[in-house]
Amino acid sequence: MTHVAILGGGPAGLAAAQGALAAGARVSLLDEGDRLGGQFWRHHERLTDPRLQHGWHRFERLRDALARGDARVHVGASVWSAEATDLGVRLRAVVGAADADARTAVDVEADAVVVATGAHDLALPVPGWTLPGVTTAGAAQALAKRDGVAVGRRTVVSGAGPFLLPVAQSLALVGSDVVGVLEASRITALAAGWLPRPWELAGKAGEFLQYAGGLARHRIPYRTGSGVVRVLGDERVEGVVVAALDADWHPIVGTEREVACDAVALGHGFAPRLEAALALGCDLRGDHRGRFVVVDDAQRTTTAQVFAAGEVTGIAGADAALAEGAVAGFLAAGGALGDPRLRGPVTARRRARAFARRLERAHGIRPGWTAWVDDATIVCRCEAVTRRAIAERADVPLRAMRLATRAGLGPCQGRTCGRAVEAIVAEAGGAPASVGFDRRPVLAPVRIGEVAALAATDPAT
């Protein structure tokens, strides 16, 4: 029986598990969270307000399919190593409470793997963004959904993309006063992205209307062509400077105004989590403006027996992740792309990818944002590296730049700042890098004693 490993328990991973089980495989699914669902269905049985969940029944169906099937699920699993081998893949994880010491080692050898590691928020640097009270939009969402708490009493939501809408709604439902949702893209870009061929958006349009209704009910203003360009405060957030942005997201001089608030939620898009795919040798496409795993119609990567699904192949949302996951899991288990059971997912995938193109066209990050970052702005939060320091070393290879400035060398390993650092290097005339900061041989934090345990034991198969 084929053994399919699945990295990630969000929409893509859960759909992959269901697909692999349907094709007759045995499944091992690993996720770092303490519950299945990923970021999209992040939840806690007692703490989560059900009004904050979207498509919850779909989650329950997928979870139940997993529970019924021949599947081992490891939650709380930090997968720190992934290797492609002659026989398939080998994953090493430690399982237990997050960042505990001496967690249980779990070693998975499988015939194939589906990389469904998802994405995290991409918050662009803003002067003052290291002040307590500034979070990503995803943090505001996660804390509202998972823990039932609001990141502030008066919150400004700023960035780009439809994700800002449910974040504002969640904040309002957990009791925060949302001062406004600031969408960086101008109405012309939004129209160019969203208005053509409205029939493709059936379903999605309803979702937007629902959010728009939520915003209206909570009297939350939604502004386009606008963004937070500076965060004010001494020891914590006391307010923000908001400016009108042009079509390139360049702040328009003279439009700045101060808004009082105690929290800022920033989300300018999403960054795929590529380290596992890279460790498995998968090729990427794109450049510092967005790199994704290369997949074919069968969701096959360039490494044999390694499949990828969801945000790692392109930022396209949960519907795309579900469709790609279903295909990836089914094919990883040895199923055929022409199988009638895949007709639904293949159609859904086509529709979802069209949605992704609209998303990029309407909300994709524009280069003018670097104009709101001044020389002294910290870009790498971990190591407190300023824009000036990075730009001054733009002329050396990226690796040498990192070592000279320490940008991207801190605890987050460039996950937070990587794209911004690369954009600043590129703007300062630096040579483009093929992989950037995404290659991280240690896929997740692990304690040295847990790594040392490898040398002492012959890992189980």
Partner: protein, 385 residues
């Protein structure tokens, strides 16, 4: 005199500075740019402690002394945006576990005879020098002259200094020689030809490939080394601390995975834990075995590391010659071609002395160092690895 230096790693950068300061016109050619490979993928060790008496020890002692003035000069002269070398004469402590005391003490005694300072520490002195070290440690020798630089930054500082003196950097891959058989008159690159009177091959692990493109033969091979980096923490390691099995590994011809442990803190607050050695060609998939072996030995040395978070690991390729000595001097068959490579894990430490020997070979600059043991004509290079 016009000199092309191939390679902008530590050896190429040091050679460029030495040559340009002695009046040569210097063009550095590198396919990636400064410190793009090995010199950004190593530990920055300036060691005398690991050197058994012999020609490399003599070179290391001289080079160690040269680094002290060089680092000070580089740091004093640096411009805005240029990194500091992070030179730190922190000293090294080599420790032995029970059973290894006599071998370590014998090694240290032999080193003392060649002029290396090596002080045996008693238990109280060791506990005060490294309070977090394992109580299992049975013997310790302190080497006050062992020092450290941030190798990528030191390379960048060296090249920046050379460029302030007029050296040029061309980022391009060398594709072949200019000139007929037996005599080189410059190099061809992917972006054009660069004529020169002398070409210096400082391509590290790739210097055999470069030599071959230039029509020469040179047996230099890559050896892969993995290094672990912890998350930043309050300082708990105060010297470079080695397990005394480090002593045996450098010269070993064994292809299998070997580890010899060096633990030290960095100015960034992280702890560096090196290192493994494997002869696997340019294989860029180290897997987890080296990390597991390094981690196990590191935890034995410093038990607190067991609960420390591993932040990242990296690996680099170290260039080695069949006899494990650096190769410095004129090519025996091609006039105008000089090699400076094969420093294995010691290139950062040996760079200033290597540069002085290259200046001697290229410009006939005076030196007190003996070039003979490192010449490419030596017998040891004709052995099979």
């Amino acid at each position: 005199m016009r000199v092309v230096v191939i390679g902008a790693g530590i050896i190429g950068a040091a050679c460029a500075l030495a040559l340009v300061e002695r009046g040569a016109e210097v063009v550095v050619v590198d396919r990636l740019g400064v410190a793009g490979e090995t010199s950004s993928r190593c530990e920055g060790n300036l060691l005398v402690s690991d050197k058994a008496p012999g020609p490399e020890a003599a070179l290391a002692i001289a080079s160690n002394a040269m680094w002290r003035t060089l680092a000070g000069r580089l740091d004093a002269d640096r411009r805005d945006g240029q990194p500091a070398t992070e030179f730190e004469a922190k000293g090294g402590i080599v420790v032995a576990f029970p059973g290894g005391e006599a071998a370590l003490e014998r090694f240290a005694a032999a080193q003392r005879a060649t002029g290396i300072r090596a002080e045996t520490l008693d238990a109280a002195a060791l506990a005060s020098a490294e309070p977090h070290l394992s109580p299992e440690v049975a013997h310790a020798v302190r080497y006050p002259d062992d020092a450290q630089v941030q190798p990528s930054n030191a390379t960048q500082a060296l090249l920046a200094a050379a460029m302030r003196h007029g050296a040029r950097l061309v980022v391009a891959e060398v594709t072949g020689p200019i000139g007929g058989p037996g005599r080189i008159a410059g190099v061809r690159t992917a972006t054009g030809a660069i004529p020169a009177d002398v070409v210096v091959n400082c391509a590290g692990p790739w210097s055999a490939e470069v030599a071959s493109r230039l029509g020469a033969r040179l047996d230099i091979r890559p050896r892969r080394g993995v290094i672990l980096v912890t998350t930043p923490m309050p300082q708990r390691v105060f010297h470079k601390v080695y397990d005394s099995d480090y002593v045996g590994a450098v010269g070993s011809g064994d292809a299998a995975l070997q580890t010899s442990i060096v633990v030290e803190s960095t100015p960034g607050g992280t702890v560096l834990i090196g290192s493994s050695r494997e002869r696997v060609g340019f294989d860029d998939r180290p897997g987890v075995a080296p990390a597991g072996a390094i981690a196990a030995k590191a935890v034995r040395l410093f038990p607190f590391l067991e609960r420390t978070i591993l932040l990242r690991s990296y690996f680099g390729f170290r260039p080695y010659a069949p006899d494990h000595l650096p190769v410095i001097g004129p090519d025996p068959e091609i006039a105008g071609l000089v090699h400076a490579t094969g420093h294995e894990g010691a290139g950062i430490g040996l760079a200033p002395a290597t540069a002085e020997l290259v200046a001697h070979a290229v410009l006939d600059a005076p030196t007190d160092l003996d070039p003979t043991p490192f010449l490419p004509t030596r017998d040891g290079l004709r052995e099979t690895a």
